[in-house]
Amino acid sequence: MFFKLAALNLRKHLKRTLLVLFAIAISVLVMVFVEGLMTGLQQSFFQSIFQDSGHVQLHKTGWEDRLDPYSLDYTISNPDADLSRLRKDPRVTDAEQILPFGALVLHGDKNMPMGGYGIQPDTTYFTRAREGMLQGHLPQSDNQIAISKRTGELLGVSYRDPLVVLVQDSTGSAFYYEYTVAGVFATGSNQFDTGTFFITHSAAEDLLYIGNATIEIRVKLQDPTMADAFQKDMSDWAAGQDLEIKTWKQIHGSFIVMFEFFDIFMIFIDLLVVIVTATVITNAILMNVFERTAEFGTLRAIGLKKRQQFGMIISEGVIQGVLGSFIGLLAGVGFTLYVASVGIDMGGVAESVGLSSTIYPALTVTNGVRSFGAGVLISIVGSLYASMVSTRMRIVDMFGGEH
């Protein structure tokens, strides 16, 4: 009967009930979206780190302190043996050589200074470029090049057109080679798209005239948390090979610190959302209860116990909390999925902290359950407060203090 009475009361005072439901639903929607945004940012950040940098990187000793970012003075000669040694370690899932270099890319009378990457045809890195391929593919043979759509627009080059890459090779001489555009990609990052192209690793070796060598070895482990132990175990071997070994934390240290600050900032935003939500919901429930003070007074006068009154108010809170949170969850999931499908363009700000310029909120079951639970819990706490205030009132005062 109490539950029925609560349900009937909610239906009877429909406008007020809808207001409370709206407050709860909007609050849960905001919580779902903020949680989704935070998760999306985290996923984007760690995906950038792990997918595009690996968990561990090896370079020639001294590479870290080079003045020219594309210096060819720190190449790893005959990397096959090193790669083979690394791949034997059971913790290693992938070890791959990458050859970054500076170049001038030319077509007709137009040219662009860019960073080139010599990569394996079956590379597992540069996910954004691989997944953002609009035409063709990453280079599979030594005469192929992959550029971004934006680079193509700037240089006036299309898919399958020839494109010249000019470099200063390891001897200090200028050297160029003509490639065919075999892949056009768009990553959503303007900085990446206008600054990066790909040729095969062997093509880069030839172009740069470095023989069988590379600049960087990227290693993926079974779990990123193994990186510190792996570094420690391999440090003696690496030193013997005249190599430096760095973990993802060391490579992206400043970004990680920045991201941790950002994480704390987002927790504050989350907390703020919860406080605003709690205030709005509690206020709406308090209004709902206090408008019926005389009714509760009557019920108390005819024998309703305080704990029963408490139960009635809580029942209404639970119904409103569950219903409002469910509506909010559905709306929040819908809204977040929509935003996730189109993305939020954060521009250069996101790129400067190691993220893609377009952020895609991500939904997880935990986030949904947490937001729904928070909505219900806040409604119950709000109802508890309203119940406590209401049951403390004297019956005569509930009638309006007639004497």
Binding site: M1, L5, L8, N9, R11, K12, A294, E295, T298, L299, R300, A301, I302, G303, L304, K305, K306, Q308, R394, I395, V396, E402, H403
Partner: protein
């Protein structure tokens, strides 16, 4: 035997820095089967007195003995149990639960007492029939006239077979003819069911139905009329 004894009851309200003495030492007794009216002008303390009798308010001093027990010693739950099982209330503004039907309003105190469903339904039907509202048992209060609503309130007050029904100005919101019908109904139920009734009014036409009349004036019993 007395159902209720009121002994030298005082009630003082603090209104900021001033104090208002609503009752200044009221004493009387309600016997089993009484049909008593408390009358007096507005502000004389009728509602305060009925609230104290009904365990809704506490006296500042003095005693209220319900069936020989001092209600001042009751806990909140005992007071609620007494109001639920031993007393019935009828209010000036009917105070029905708007979202419940006539039957459900009458049934509600039985639910609070934990009476089983079958017994509840039988008792509710009996009472709704007794107040002449069988046709309206599924109606909501806002679909009824004032007189009909007050009859629902009377049925609700009687449903737990109380010793005492307290009615605060039960006819104040009704026209004189309907008011007379309501008091007549209360009188009939008093005769048929042996329930004690105490009701307040300032309407001379209504007070004449009472067997005993207590006149309150300025917080004191001015005089008592009737066979008590």
């Amino acid at each position: 035997m007395a159902v209720l004894e009121v002994e030298n009851v005082h009630k003082v309200y603090s209104l900021g820095k001033t104090e208002l003495e609503a009752l200044k030492g009221v004493s009387f007794t309600i016997e089993r089967g009484d049909f008593m009216s408390i009358v007096g002008p507005s502000g004389c303390g009728k509602t305060t007195l009925l609230n104290i009798i009904g365990c809704i308010d506490k006296p500042t001093s003095g005693k209220v003995l319900f069936e020989g027990n001092d209600v001042a010693t009751y806990s909140d739950n005992q007071e609620a149990d007494t109001r639920l099982s031993r007393m019935g209330f009828v209010f000036q503004s009917f105070n029905l639960i708007p979202v419940l039907s006539v039957s459900e309003n009458v049934e509600f105190p039985l639910i609070l007492r934990g009476v089983e469903k079958k017994k509840r339904r039988g008792r509710v039907k009996e009472l709704v029939d007794a107040v002449g509202l069988s046709r309206y048992s599924a109606h909501k209060p806002d679909e009824l006239s004032g007189g009909q609503r007050q009859r629902v309130a009377i049925a609700r007050a009687l449903v737990n077979e109380p010793e005492l029904v307290i009615a605060d100005e039960p006819t104040a919101n009704l026209d004189s003819e309907t008011g007379a019908m309501i008091v007549d109904l209360m009188g009939t139920l008093n005769q048929e069911q042996g329930v004690s009734f105490v009701f307040s009014t300032h309407n001379p036409e209504i007070m004449k139905y009472a067997h005993r009349i207590i006149h309150l004036k300025d917080g004191l019993v001015d005089r008592v009329e009737g066979d008590g």
